[in-house]
Symmetry: D2
Subunit: 338 residues, 4 copies
């Protein structure tokens, strides 16, 4: 933390700031210039910089250390690979997780699994507990749905990723899901994050609709503090004033996260755009920008999907997209994991 004093700050004011810093357990390095005094502060982790901004004679307080620690690149400069069975996310291979928005019934999930497996998918997604904005919408099949998904995927050698909405569901997910997905609305559900820190399974952490990249990394820190370091970050669009797309996919988050953190980052083009015909261009763009993977909604019959059919690809569209992604991956020196 650096505290910049006003030009006209008195010696007394500077001393009062210094004393408070020392009382707060910080070390202070004072540098007096012709124009103004600047205080360099060490050990300010538990201090709220705004407290100092309000003291007399203080012009500005600047934070110089990032608040996230465990997710920072410095913590593991070589980068993290998250293992899901034999699949490795964060390696040279780009991993595509695919499947329907919701598990709807045996037939649907079977048809989806069949098609996805044929196209080469290794991790299948599907929602059983659905957080919906309206209480009147379809809320998911719950435990039964999760079991169905697990069974259909496993039978074909695929892994499972599904969204967990409450910490009391962790035992169930440990049994039936290989990746525990935290949705955008739960990115700051700290009770859930804390409990996920205690398990030893990969967590897919989606960026909140209005979360800064720093807040995303802090949320990862919450989980990592408990000892679970198997975290996959996910960009899924942020809320802006533009209304033609559901959210604005922030692809520049990819190179930014790559620099700030050692954790792998994937992209969800389905939720970001909300429209089927925008999914493929954004999926290609994400891989071109350096994403470690994608999570895409694919449905065997989107016209009759119970949720988010409008943003789900048909199986044949997904197959076509996978071919395009192979070309893009090669162009950036990577390959698609199949």
């Amino acid at each position: 933390m650096v505290i910049v004093m006003e030009r006209k700050a008195t010696e007394e004011q500077i001393e009062r700031v210094t004393e408070r810093l020392v009382a707060d357990g910080c070390a202070v390095h004072r540098s007096t210039g012709v124009e103004r005094t600047v205080l360099g502060v060490i050990g300010e982790n538990v201090v709220d910089e705004r407290d100092y901004e309000l003291l007399d004679g203080v012009k500005e307080v600047l934070r110089i250390t990032h608040p996230y620690k465990l997710s920072a690149r410095a913590f593991k400069p070589e980068g993290t690979q998250v293992r899901v069975g034999e699949v490795e996310i964060g390696s040279n291979a780009v991993v595509v997780i695919a499947g329907p928005c919701s598990v709807e019934n045996e037939n649907q999930i079977n048809a989806a699994a069949e098609g996805l497996h044929r196209i080469g998918t290794r991790i299948m997604r599907g929602g059983a507990f659905k957080p919906r904005s309206s209480p009147h919408s379809f809320q998911g099949l719950g435990e039964e749905g999760l079991r169905m998904l697990h069974e259909c995927a496993r039978r074909r050698g695929m892994y499972v990723a599904s969204e967990i909405t409450d910490h009391t569901l962790i035992p169930l997910f440990l049994e039936y899901s290989d990746i525990l997905q935290v949705g955008a609305r739960n990115m700051q559900n700290f009770n859930l994050l804390r409990e996920l820190g205690k398990i030893r399974k990969p967590v897919l952490l989606k960026r909140g609709m209005s979360a800064t990249i720093e807040e995303l990394l802090l949320a990862a820190d919450y989980i990592m503090t408990g000892g679970n370091h198997q975290i996959i970050l996910c960009e899924r669009g942020i809320r802006t004033f533009e209304t033609y797309t559901r959210n604005t996919l922030d692809l520049s988050a990819i190179p930014v996260v790559k620099k700030l953190s050692h954790l792998p980052i994937i992209v969800d083009p389905s939720h970001a755009t909300g429209r089927r015909d925008k999914v493929a261009p954004m999926a290609r763009a994400a891989v071109a920008a350096g994403a470690d993977g994608l999570i895409i909604e694919v449905h065997p019959d989107p016209d009759h999907a119970l949720s988010d059919g409008a943003q789900s690809l048909r199986l044949e569209q997904f197959e076509q997209l996978m071919k395009e992604l192979e070309l893009i991956s090669a162009a950036v020196g990577r390959r698609i994991d199949r």
Copy 2:
């Protein structure tokens, strides 16, 4: 829902859209103009309008009913009053809830309660379970803190408002808190909302940092669907590009909510601005704009607060503000509840 067809839409395309609507359980009213055909749709509550946007020949799909029902003004045109003991929120009297950000210890909470009571506060706030962005920050005293708050407030005849962060805590809060506060980060924690719908105590529902007013009303609907209609809405600032204030307090939400909904709305100027010296002007502005109440952070010794001291008023500042608010209330034909 209104479906506008393309100028060049074929008869076949129009029929296909109509058939699908009927299959989805909707009634369709077709009106054929010289230029284009428009389909008026009734009974579209469970339909995702995006599904129709993707059909051939469709130009645009317009939603004409709001998705929230129970919180809509039409549901109770005369307006809702929420009763907390003898205090009524949503009446002519403007209610000011005040207290420290966190319950820190016996001395602090006692000093706060003493001062607040003297100034005329009738509902005291205080956090025991704190949702903090960083896992390394003070996380609150938990159950012990909530009990302390309850005891200190009750002894002086004040009611208690405290934030609940998890549905498993509901029994505890039913015992010790008169208002159960849902924080901005939990506005779309649907498990929590659903459980709060089952109790019969007032819920203070804060608008999420990036939630639209419509989403706020939908969140209220989640609670009301369970039968609990005692809901107080709270504007506390939205996230924008401006960085001089922590959030941008959206005071125009007050007249908007007043028109759209029958629920009372209060304002939290402390979290919105994040700075003590901005709290009083925004509190005055909120009352001038028609707010039914305020929730303000007040601390007996903000310089040593364990959280958010920078945005907490000192007791004497709060006393001064209450005098100003009395004048403003009178100017808009209301009074301050004391």
Copy 3:
């Protein structure tokens, strides 16, 4: 500027940064800690801090001086009053500028002037050159409209405020307008700002729809650099994700600007909300928050207005509002200028 070096920065890297700073004309104050080295930089006004962020070994670069100079509070701690004839903006009196969106014809502007004068308005607004988002909308009466407005206002002893959209129009406005208004879309039209710096008449500078407060003050600096210090700032809403109001009125900008700058600030509740029934609550809130004035759209017959009728008050609504504003002004220790 403060440059924070990486923990592992080499002596060579530190020297290279220092050399470049010196070459850029800056003075450097080095402070070496146990953990890291921090360089305090003086005289960095012409330097782009991002250049230094990219140098090897640099962790972060922090700007410690604000880029605006002339509009900063420090430049004139006692505050600026802008004089328009006998009216003083920035004094204890709250000044209300009112009038129709556009000058439409002799009858309309006469009726408006008549009514406004009767209610006690001292500065009348009216647009003659209209910047419209669509090329097909009414674009204003131009020079003729400006003259009409001037004549109608002067005849009743009122002053005139009108929007200037191009620097080539300055001579015309010098003759017919007492306040030259710069619209939100032109806040960064630097050619216009520069030319307005050369005149000696009050300029009303509206905040751009997505301009930060810092950019607003920099725009004021553009004008002041030319020697014209008679500037009135105006908050008129910023663009956010919320769609129920046209823009989100950022009333916290009032106390923020009051602290950062010596210039007076007024508020435009008409453009911010875009709806007649939201204008009065927001006008009251602005005065309660400490605004030095308001600019409000009032039309003798809004139902037949050629532009923005939906956000214009009727004369009788304006009269009622003025009464309410008198009460609010008194509550904050000010009065309404009439």
Copy 4:
């Protein structure tokens, strides 16, 4: 336009709305349902829908036609190619415009031109009239700079793109620039747009920092109304709450614009990200998403650039990027124009 009446709207209210519509020159198609009446309106181009929202008995007014006309895809379904000499923007070839932020002096611009030409650049950019946020920053060399740029580029057979900031400069730009660039801050400088409509040279129109896609297309309409249909749209980042990048590059605007409009769209990754190391990933992503071209800042010696050096690529970095873009272009079935 569709006007949805309240359930309880009286026959009288419906008639009053209808009468006003007819008086406004619209045709009305009434459809009375069991629940409510809906009025379909034709010919509403000059009507402000908000006027109708405020009438008694009206629940909602929905716009069903987009306000832009000439830039709409329907106006020219096959797509527009903009010709700059022999270069065609909007064809199968992806066009990369490159050059320094500002023309600084003979040596710099010569070195830039030399390097760019060697790498295969066909259109060179360079700013002579610089719109800078601060009045104290370098403002460009003006006319002399434009001439220098023109001479250096032409000598090597390259075309010129440069930013025009004021309509009075049009004659100068007609002589020395092949593409007239309108910067983000001038996207709604309607005087400038109107005058550019009268010329017959390509205009590169950048999306404003907080402009919706609809507003961008309306700005294009302003120019096209004058008869100049040679317009290239440019996405350059929008303002959001995220601060790690200067702006958030909205790549989903590419497929959206492709659907809504017939005009070509290119991307400026340099201004969007503001950091050199983010330019290449975003450039690759733009091409993968379907952009018709790029405009990139390249400087022979960015460390000593007078403006925006931090976001400028070195010549060798640009050369490397061009190779990567060739691979990406091929992967999406296009080629890089060289």
